[in-house]
Symmetry: C2
Subunit: 291 residues, 2 copies
Amino acid sequence: MLLGGLECGGTKMVCAIGDENGRIIKKERIISLDPETTVPQIIDFFRTNSIIALGVASFGPVDPDVKSPTYGYITSTTKVQWRNYDLIGNLRRALNVPCGFDTDVNGAVLGEVTYGCMKGLSNALYMTVGTGIGIGVYANGSLLHGMLHPEGGHVMVRRHPEDTFPGNCIYHKDCLEGLASGSALMERFGCNPAEVSMSDPVWKYESYYLAQALVDYILTLSPEKIVLGGGVMSRAELFPMIRRDVVHLLNDYIDTEKIKKIDEYITPSSLEGDQAVMGCMKLAYDAACSS
Amino acid sequence: MLLGGLECGGTKMVCAIGDENGRIIKKERIISLDPETTVPQIIDFFRTNSIIALGVASFGPVDPDVKSPTYGYITSTTKVQWRNYDLIGNLRRALNVPCGFDTDVNGAVLGEVTYGCMKGLSNALYMTVGTGIGIGVYANGSLLHGMLHPEGGHVMVRRHPEDTFPGNCIYHKDCLEGLASGSALMERFGCNPAEVSMSDPVWKYESYYLAQALVDYILTLSPEKIVLGGGVMSRAELFPMIRRDVVHLLNDYIDTEKIKKIDEYITPSSLEGDQAVMGCMKLAYDAACSS
């Protein structure tokens, strides 16, 4: 009983075949160009493997509301060629299998909650700090959508008094994403952030901004655990800095056992980059079960 | 089949008798002093009315985790006499009825979702701006707890460049509550905020801070509707200011029909101050059903 998983990113599409235990049997990367070029390649991959259902986790904003006429669309994205694209409609028509659909970050939190280090939790948060910043939220035992879906990468943060970078978010200039995303770091440094020494003061700002956002999420969503992923977070030195800043900013106001064990509360992913595609396996499994 | 509802506030306890349709038959206010004085009066009120269950919504932080040894306690509150007080244990032992328990703001959101203007929604937010600031969250069809419960009154906001007030939160100084609560306004004005003209620039800061917090909540929780209550929000002129600031800060990033109808999206309570005590009726009803 094979399941298909598709993680749609701005630069690459990860196509995988696996099962409901999160095992991945086969995986292929396809470069993200425009839908006309890329979607047929995705369809080819899944056609050559007889899957019974497909789970898709995509960059957004997307429409995850099954009752909406534009369910399954990528909507107001900055990636112009994918704007208002009926992703799920096209895949379902071509592959003729039930499809599950959510944001890439909701896919990642679902992967962690189903198979990873947040297994069994009812309230969990995944934040990716990559080219952009996004959050996936599991609340009261399901993925959170609400009016749309969480877009926590764009929360407003208080600027570090020494930070003069104007921010590069096209909507908000110096929101979290505008100050702390991988693309903001690229612009700040003029080179790959991975090459910049941790003694550069920008990393101090980075930790301060990410910690502010985590404090906001803790105070609004009250997650039982937080996983941080994405390219920027592969800089492991950031973890202790962020944890220290979170504790400092909370200042004992949230007095729980989990916050006291901050090293276990805020951690890297346990699924080595496969969290979203494994979440897709769960989306596919649920789609198969409910069809 | 009578139900009891108890809304515990820092200055008063509202005791009510009603039914599962949210009808309130009898209501009495008791001044909040210390537990030794106040709790016996509460017990007397409910004893003289034969209720089958009690719902309690209390100022916090509280422990709402039924699996915890301190379930039903008021925990690390600044109201020293109530700190670590076993509220539900004492009420249950005295009244011998099933009890439901949550925060005052979760009670309010439950009231609105069950009987008020958010009826039927699965994702809803209630913010009170009173002496303190708090949020109640309904997510995926139930009240949100998670690690603890939402404490969104303490999110960090960006200071208005003209605002020189240092903030009065004893934990964070100039978090949202420290800058924008009723007690912060009292300290800013040196008099009852209700007496201060809307032309005072402080109201502009107030709207800016509350709008920032709402934007944070929209980007993390994605509520389908937001109700604002509490003493400060009885200043009706604040609503259009806050709505305008929210739209301005979001800057079209969240492009939904609901945000386009911002007057319907952010509204006053529909239950005229009874939202929390009506939420208690639902807590009591659920406690009766599950016992």
